[in-house]
Amino acid sequence: MILSRKNRIMIFLVAVVLVFAARLFYIQVLNDSFKSDANNNSTVHMAVYPTRGLIYDRHGNILVENKTCWNLMVTPAEVEPFDTARLADILGVERSFIEEKMAWYRKYRTRIGYRSVEFIHQMESADYLRFAEVAYQFPGFHGEAHSVRKYPVNAGGNLLGYVSEVDAPYIKKHPEYKSGDYVGRAGIEASMEHVLKGEKGNRIYYRNSRNKIVGSYLDGRMDTDAVPGKDVTTTIDRDLQVYGQQLMAGKIGSIVAIEPSTGEILALVSAPCLDVEKLDNMGKYYKEIASDPLKPMFNRAVQASYPPGSVFKLVGGLIGLQEGTLKPWYEYPCHQGYWYAPGKKVGCHAHRSPLDFEEAIMMSCNSYFCYVFKDIIENPAYPNVQAAFDRWREYVLSFGFGQKLGTDFPYELGGNIPTSDRYDRIYGKRGWKAHTIISLSIGQGEIGCTPMHLANLAAIMANRGYYYTPHIIKGTREIPIDERFTRRNYTLVDTSAFNVAVHGMWRAVNSGWGEGGTATIASVPGLDICGKTGTAQNPHGADNSVFICFAPKDNPRIAVAAYVEHGTWGATWAAPIASLMIEKYLAGEISENRKWLEKKMFEGDLISGLQYNQ
């Protein structure tokens, strides 16, 4: 039988229809898997958010905990006419706020459909409960509880970080997060996110075609509970941290306190401080904080690069001792400065002359360390200046400078120690010698470090030659810390060389009035504080005030670096502040005869006088 072409086309058409019908019969009638999938779709999966882990200080005091907040939600499709004035009264909002919101919902009702939208963000529990009592009178409105951070004391705004809802770019980078999840941003919240966050749970409900929940799916057998996040213990001493923040009020700069025998950070203050009040609702304050010219978000303790100033003399002197170009009994003259070319000098303050090494540290003589530096860089044992300088640089790096220390802080800055190549490029291969770069000897010039580096130097002096990498998370059995934090890092300078320098530091603080010690203001009887002042030039105004110290001299328990921008002399602000920190930590209280100093520090204001022309 030969079919006409018309009939062949017809047969083809009927065949297609039969295939479609068979396929439809299969997916609609025979196969159940699509129906169970459809059940999934007409069920609602609701995430149960875990409570975030708490953050403790080293003594078990709470730094960060959780509280319950409520988002007031509204399903515009279910709202019935209500008394706007009454609702405004209960919620404590303007009547116009409610009217505007309702008008907006009406305008976009096609887009909203049966969904719920947020009416008021983050209501305090007390406010919400007032509404909850009468909620039945306002169909369509309901509250959704969620947990936000709470800070019992104003401690460590900068180091704790904050928690905020994930945004689209973040989800793109971290697909394991879903819209509506919260994530730690900055500080400890970010670095310990994996521990703190816990695991989300899941509740499944049935809903009808009006998006209303009608019951629990399989009586909740498929539901999973949220696993709360684990708590994190920090090395911070809460009281010391709070005290440091009080001392730094009205100033720009930072304080870092380290326990030398472990590398644990006891306090880390960056001023101006970020107020913890603003952390729990970062979204609201973000603009205000980000536009502050004093940049409170900027963690100066680990992110600001400063010249170290005279405290760097310790490093220069120790290198000289190790290289043999300096002996502790060498004396150099100083007549208000170091003349390295006709008409050119590195100035110095008035003190007696000549001095030996210990006294040079005690009195912070600039000339002395210029001689020391010249002898290191122009040491005939090396073939040229470059080789000697490279060796000098190796020593400096072994003190932790010029590189990231490897703390457990996100966004740590490495600082800068120049290389011989850099000077070759600037001055030419034969164009420079010790005098060209003489300012390095007193911690000025092409050198940058963070207050963390300086605190680490204080810890090295305290330990007489080694340091533990500073860290802020205290290792526990559950959450062990990296092995690198428990390893001693020795400098390239022999530990025996440190005693003379430490004694110089002790004399700088404890030599008594009139002896020429630069930091006698920091002296606290019985605590044996050893310290070194610094005064670093600041091109934007008055010099920066720097002080590093540790105490007691034997078996030190705390090492502190304080850096106060525009604080003029090291002894003016930094030394009192650092010594008060030590006194607070070791003695627990400030002695009566130093109360005046504490008051002066609390009230000192170095910000109002500043002109910011950004």
Partner: protein, 491 residues
């Protein structure tokens, strides 16, 4: 016979009432489903805020246009003006390339104030008209090369322009005009070839190019021997060879230790090249003995298929665009990606599958209400049908289409006027392609290609274009009935 045959009422009487009713049934049922897909409590179905309200406006416009066509446009208008209409539509296609607006990644829309339309919709009509005119011309013979090439040109020119606009769906629909060509005498082997190429494309991507080549050899040689009436001989010569190589492809790595020299020499590709060389030798020898154009053609086709199979991966990875590639991958199950490119398909299957035998009832679909299915009022409207009306409702709508298309084909076939007949087949071909691709994609038998379900999907310009397309045929066909005025009433 007292009535004036040119009066409006007699024109109305002559219309194929069954066809008009089928058209109306689809439009009304379509509108209900569009409403269901977009409905929102408290907003009236007729409000212009909703798509259902706008669609109603377009339905009205389409009906008015249809009535005007029946009442005022002389039936010869279309044939006479086929060429200018075609040229005009091509100009619109070029214009859209220059000034068009992109919607959903296809650069094919012209926006005029509140109205936006796709010139590609008009091209379906104009190409059908010109095709009908060219092929109904006196002395036209598809077997003449010049005529054949001219016909191909009419179809391929707009296809090329549409492809430049990134509207794969529309281009595929125009390819459907191979059906009227077939009806008018084009060799069925072209269709076999076209299907083979599609099959090869799929097989190469899912299984391996080797199997695809074997299939093409299988189809090519079988059709060649079938054409010469020597299928039996084929069964004991070529078939065993093909089967042997096929088995070898699957077992070679189990028989021979991989990595050995023997395995390297005897790998399937080499065996096939050797076998192919022998085969081609015999083939050419027989070809020289008896120069048979079909044999030459089939040999060419096989070689073409082999080249095609080997280049499929290249085409797939380089010529296709990312979204097309993803859709094919999902359809062929090469990638299980429920929330990505496969999302549309997966949600569509869930919606249809959950309808069951009877459906959830009008306006009671859960999948449709929450907007799980994307493009639910337009390209995926069949999901709403499947979910709310169930298997029975789906059968009903498929049945309506089958009735519409077979009615058009059978009445076209009876037409004395070649123009009307060919045009009718073109209309049927257009509907068939849309029907196959659209429903095929929603039930997972075709890749997701965004073209609407004729008369049912939301979309004003599409509805209007299909109404015009179908009513041109209805008008032409009613004119045909003038000749059978007496019988027409009995029919």
């Amino acid at each position: 016979m007292s009535k004036d045959p040119s009066s409006f009422s007699s024109k109305l009487e002559r219309l194929d009432i069954v066809l008009v009713l089928l058209y109306l049934a689809l439009v009304v049922f379509g509108w209900m489903n569009v409403y269901s897909a977009v409905h929102i409590q408290e907003i009236s179905a007729f409000s212009f805020e909703l798509r259902s309200g706008k669609q109603l406006l377009w339905i009205g416009l389409s009906l008015v246009t249809a009535l005007c066509m029946v009442g005022f446009i002389p039936h010869r208008f279309y044939e006479t003006l086929a060429v200018p209409i075609y040229l005009l539509s091509l100009m619109l296609l070029v214009a859209v390339l220059l000034v068009g607006t992109s919607v959903n990644g296809s650069h094919s829309w012209i926006v005029l104030g509140p109205v936006s339309f796709q010139p590609a919709e008009i091209v379906k009509i104009s190409t059908a008209l010109l095709l009908a005119k060219a092929m109904s011309a006196y002395g036209f013979d598809l077997k003449k090369r010049s005529h054949f090439l001219r016909t191909c040109g009419i179809i391929l020119l707009p296809i090329a322009l549409i492809l430049m606009e990134n509207e794969t769906g529309c281009a595929l629909v125009l390819l459907g005009f191979i059906i009227p060509l077939y009806r008018e005498g084009l060799s069925g082997w072209y269709i076999v070839l076209a299907f083979t190429i599609v099959l090869l494309f799929i097989l190469t991507l899912t299984i391996s190019p080797l199997i695809a080549i074997l299939i093409s050899v299988f189809v090519g040689t079988l059709s060649c021997e079938y054409n010469e009436g020597s299928v039996i001989r084929w069964c004991y010569t070529t078939l065993p060879a093909i089967l042997a190589v096929t088995v070898w492809v699957f077992v070679h790595d189990k028989v021979l230790e991989p990595g050995t020299t023997a395995a390297a020499i005897l790998k399937p590709a080499n065996i096939m090249i050797a076998g192919g060389a022998v085969g081609v030798f015999f083939y050419i020898r027989r070809l020289l003995r008896n120069l048979n154009p079909f044999r030459l053609f089939s040999l060419g086709a096989i070689l073409l298929c082999i080249v095609f199979s080997l280049s499929v991966n290249f085409i797939f990875n380089h010529a296709l665009q990312e979204h097309q590639r993803q859709r094919i991958e999902v359809l062929l199950g090469m990638k299980e990606d429920v929330s990505g490119a496969g999302y549309n398909l997966h949600q569509s299957l869930i919606a249809i599958g959950s309808g069951g035998l009877n459906g959830k009832g009008f306006l009671h679909g859960t999948q449709t209400t929450y907007g799980f299915v994307p493009e639910q009022a337009t390209d995926f409207i069949f999901c709403t049908v499947g979910e709310e009306w169930g298997f029975l409702g789906s059968l009903f709508i498929i049945g309506l289409y089958l009735a519409l298309m077979t009615r058009i084909i059978s009445s076209a076939d009876k037409c004395r006027d070649n123009f009307t007949r060919i045009y009718g087949y073109c209309v049927a071909a257009c509907l068939m392609m849309h029907f196959m691709i659209n429903i095929g994609m929603t039930i997972g038998l075709m890749p997701v290609i965004g073209i609407p379900l004729p008369l049912v999907s939301y979309g004003g310009s599409s509805l209007l274009a299909f109404s015009v397309l179908i009513f041109i045929f209805i008008v032409l066909e009613s004119d045909e009935r003038k000749f059978f005025a007496g019988k027409a009433s009995q029919r």
